[in-house]
Amino acid sequence: MTALLALARRLGSLDWPLGATLALLLAWEVLVRALGVRSILLPPPSEILEVIVLRYDFLLANLWPSLYMTVFGFLLSVVGGVFIAILITYSAIVRKVLYPIIVISQVVPKISIAPLLIVWFGTGAISGLLLAFLIGFFPMTINAAAGFQAVDEDILKMARACMGSRWQIFRSIRLPHAMPYLFSGMKISITLAIIGVVVSEFVASQEGIGYLIKLAGGLLDTPLMMAAITVLSITGLLLYAIIAWVEGLVIYWQSPSFVEVAQGA
């Protein structure tokens, strides 16, 4: 019950942005019609909505594969990122070897290897999944490692004075402490996972929302393209919102932090 109330409160504070967005949509609608802009260039929101409603089955059929790959790629990057972060925290060797590589790779745009993945794994969904995983993995690792390591030295001293073992200290202190960092990393990773999947589909694929956007582009069907973009955006927003909601439930002892240690595609 409290979770629903928290959600309602969060949404309640959205009335200003919501109002602004509706105003923007209205202005768009009016201007496009008044200036007689052709649909192929910039369709009005009403037309986009019409396409969404009329062709929802086609849109959804392409949304599902992208969604699956996004979520799976994201989950893999979270699990992988946390695992490597634990290794980095507890092993000096791993830290010295892997950490610099991970940080440097942040600068390399990982979407540039999308074509390479397609050469290796074909135009199927696996390429998208891998790209999603790769893009989301590095920020997740950095954030998780930061969270595990940034515990106050004095708190660790206190725990050792209480005779805590390394595992106990990890489970009772480092892990809860890292929660804000983990969720921050997850928010970044889910956003990047979507990008990874869509870019992979842009390069070469037979299905997916990215594929649909490209298809619509090729057919000069701009309303369909924008409908696909709209559906994709809403999906991304929902995925992010789910994570933010879970964060609100899990991290009850402080307000959601905007700890952004690393991001990058």
Binding site: C162, S172, Y252, W253
Partner: protein, 271 residues
């Protein structure tokens, strides 16, 4: 009297003065080096069972380092620390530590914070939960058992830290300037609270502070430490009756002790 590094005889005399209680803790010729730098030189003293001992000195004189060695979190470069007949090799169950800041875990409520040592020692929670509640009750924060640390004031959080240090029934309580971070009024109040709690559960206490008045008011005995390198320069038995009352701070006896301690500190600055 000042400048004598070895106070074994002095400690024995004080031990005799405080009764025929056995030495709970012995520090023997402890020395601590950081590379070439001698941080602590040749400190030796005994602490009797149930004694309240203060270690008084200016900031950075190594008294915290000494306490960390007693707690088993640091090793002496030379010398030994013996507790209940066993040399200290690491943290021990017989010790409870209170640090300068409460160091409570923000995601745990007060009761769960107090029970942390019980978890770490893998003791049955059920048995100690009652004890934890009793401690909170005695510290007058029983109503806050279910609250999160962020809902408590600094003084209350430090009380929780004291309860946590006592929950596993240690025989020795180590306190590293526990009230320094509190405002002056809360500080005096907490001193009285500590004595009240101490009277309930007679532990051996080693209390590190840089406040002369605090040391004189709370303790049975005060060791003055100088710095660079840190060593015990003076020892003073506090001849004030217990229970200590705040009015004693205005009396001649108390201020006499304060003057002696202040002179000792000034003297150790000159060396």
């Amino acid at each position: 009297m000042s400048g004598h590094p070895r106070l074994a005889s002095g400690a024995a005399a004080a031990g005799a003065a405080s009764g025929r209680r056995a030495a709970r803790l012995s520090i023997k010729s402890v020395r601590r080096l950081y590379g070439e730098l001698e941080a602590i030189r040749d400190v030796s003293f005994d602490v009797a069972e149930g004694e309240f001992l203060s270690v008084l000195g200016p900031s950075g004189c190594g008294k915290s380092t000494l306490l960390m060695m007693v707690a088993g979190l640091l090793n002496p470069s030379e010398g030994e620390i013996i507790i209940n007949g066993d040399p200290v090799r690491g943290p021990r169950r017989e010790i409870g530590v209170v640090f300068q800041s409460p160091l409570l875990l923000p995601w745990r409520n007060v009761l769960d914070n107090v029970l942390l040592p019980i978890e770490m020692l893998r003791l049955p929670r059920r048995e100690y939960q009652e004890r934890a509640r009793a401690l909170l009750d005695m510290a007058k924060i029983h109503d806050f058992a279910g609250r999160l640390p962020k809902e408590l004031s600094g003084g209350m959080r430090q009380r929780v830290a004291i309860c946590r240090a006592l929950v596993h029934d240690p025989s020795i309580l180590l306190m590293d300037e526990p009230f320094s971070a509190l405002d002056a009024l809360t500080r005096d109040e907490m001193g009285l609270e500590l004595l009240r709690i101490w009277h309930h559960h007679r532990k051996t206490v080693i209390f590190v502070t840089h406040s002369i008045r605090e040391a004189a008011f709370l303790s049975d005995r005060v060791l003055v430490m100088g710095r660079r390198p840190a060593t015990v320069t003076r020892e003073l038995a506090i001849e004030l009756p217990r229970p200590r009352l705040i009015d004693m701070m205005e009396g001649d006896a108390f201020n006499h002790h304060v003057r002696i301690l202040r002179k000792a500190i000034e003297a150790s600055h000159e060396t």
